[in-house]
């Protein structure tokens, strides 16, 4: 697990940086990168 910062956008319009515990592969791409068309 690792800790990341997330910009959380609340229903009242507030936006705050919060920390989240996520799996180590959180930022991995689930599919191969695709070139621009």
């Amino acid at each position: 697990m690792m800790t990341i910062e997330v910009l959380v956008c609340r229903p009242d319009g507030a936006q705050t940086l919060e920390t989240r515990e996520v799996p180590d592969n959180w930022f991995d791409a689930p599919e191969p990168e695709t070139p621009a068309p």
Partner: protein, 183 residues
């Protein structure tokens, strides 16, 4: 009492010459008209978010929305992201890491300020059907989209997360607009 009469259906103020005219009455009338017209719309915009600062990951809290009111949710992204790192952006529901949806892009900066000349606009209209489960609908005009099944139920859907696979952030100024198709 500020107006002597009221309209029959909505109860809007109908003033006589001797009645006092107050701002609060106009505001109350406009609120009734807004609510009445909104109830007739088949599609409602239920959230608009403008990204306030650069971020690798953003999460939109949808916990206040009763998903059972809608048959579909449409999510319209207008997020300018630097494509030079050749990294994609992805969408997740409820932070479920095993279900990710690739955000499409168009290779144009026509909708983005000139200061972001070398940026591509990640955009797309993502549609989710709300039945027994939340189901992805094949996008109609975006270049492509990746799909994974989800067992998420509409009543339990409380957030959308966008994240980058690279080190460059989603820049401030982008928008996410969320619409609901009323049942």
């Amino acid at each position: 009492m500020s107006s002597t009469g009221k309209t029959e259906t909505l109860g809007l103020n109908q003033w006589a010459r001797t009645d006092a005219v107050r701002m609060d009455d106009f505001n109350a009338d406009n609120a009734k008209i807004e609510a009445a017209l909104t109830s007739l719309l088949p599609i409602r915009r239920i959230r608009t978010v403008t990204v306030s600062q650069d971020t690798l990951t953003m999460e939109v809290d949808l916990s206040d929305i009763n998903m059972n009111d809608y048959s579909q949710i449409w999510i319209d992204f207008r997020l300018g992201v630097d494509w030079t790192a050749k990294k994609d952006m992805y969408l997740r529901l409820n932070n479920i890491a095993t279900d990710s949806y690739k955000c499409a892009y168009i290779s144009s900066n026509q909708f983005w300020p000139t200061t972001y000349n070398y940026m591509y606009l990640y955009t797309g209209l993502y549609r989710f059907s709300l039945g027994a489960a939340v189901s992805w609908l094949i996008p109609t005009y975006i270049p492509y989209g990746e799909v994974a099944s989800t067992a998420l139920t509409p009543a339990n859907w409380t957030s959308i997360t966008c994240y980058r696979t690279g080190v460059l952030p989603i820049p401030a100024g982008g928008t996410v607009k969320i619409y609901g198709v009323v049942k």
